[in-house]
Subunit: 155 residues, 2 copies
DNA sequence: ATAATAATAGTCAACATTAGTCAAAAAGTT
DNA sequence: AACTTTTTGACTAATGTTGACTATTATTAT
């Protein structure tokens, strides 16, 4: 059991709701109050845990009756989402971000647990081990794109 | 063993917990305080006594609510075959040689077709795409060794 | 209509809270 | 003495928390 910090707890809370609902709409200030934190903490949670890499699409509106809507999307079946993913990777990607992508591919059953683990082993920071972080992120991007292409055209 | 130095004592302490728990999650500073040593001593203990060779996998997270998680894993029956292969790879390997290794692992049913293909996609020449062939072969070696290490245990 | 005001959410940078690295010093072994 | 292992701490890196300030949208007043 992890999750000693508020961000993890909020993440868990939102994902539990998303487990049945596929999509939720929240009021930022209400959630903040519920977990006794500042409103911008909700943005932090969303930006780090509900990105497209994680398989989520977020839309929001300000002003009276404003909201934040979080929707779970399927990575393979949606071509647009796949394109977004490619855009995110571009020509460099951190391990953390790559991890999120692999995890969502596993959650969407595109990858088995073992396949996901092998890919993660390949793109781990210690594995690539370049002095220059930019080189590391560039190599990781090439590997990931190569693998995504394999997944895309193989079946 | 001979519980002479602090490292041995900490090792013993952690392993005693791991005897019933299969996995533990610690706070580095708490353990350090418990044994009256500096936090980085915990890293030393982990790096020298909880390696994959010993059958342990370690994961950690920094920041608020950070932790170090140590899990005991089951080494598969041909874990030592992986060790032999890693000896052969050493610190550099061509794609052709790597291909043979992956192929033999497939033939021995260690890898499925899809797993083998994903690995090959990752270590392909066009994927790695380095000017310098020596760099390419070194990176390929690191990736392959990391993957072989991962194959040593299940789950 | 238009302007002012209220009610939202977003951004960003400072600060806080962890863990990791590395190399020098100390201790132990041969 | 030479070599290996352990101990220590200064510095670094990653992640999380907070709040002041900004941007956008809806509502109300003129």
């Amino acid at each position: 059991m992890q999750g000693q910090n508020i961000s993890d707890i909020i993440e868990e809370y939102l994902k539990r709701i998303l487990a049945d609902s596929h999509q939720i709409e929240i009021k930022r200030s209400e959630i903040a109050q519920l977990f006794n934190c500042v409103p911008s903490q909700i943005n932090y949670v969303i930006n780090t845990r509900f990105t497209i890499q994680n398989g989520y699409v977020v839309r929001s509106k300000r002003g009276g009756g404003g909201y934040i809507r979080i929707a779970k999307v399927n990575l393979i079946s949606d071509a647009d989402v796949m394109d977004d993913l490619m855009d995110v990777i571009d020509d460099n990607i951190s391990f953390t971000q790559a991890f999120r992508i692999i995890q969502s591919l596993f959650e969407d059953s595109v990858l088995t647990q073992k396949e996901a683990n092998l890919i993660l082993a390949a793109i781990d920071q210690r594995t690539l081990a370049f002095e220059d972080k930019r080189v590391e992120n560039a190599v990781r991007a090439r590997i990931l794109i190569s693998i995504l292409n394999r997944l895309k055209y193989d079946d």
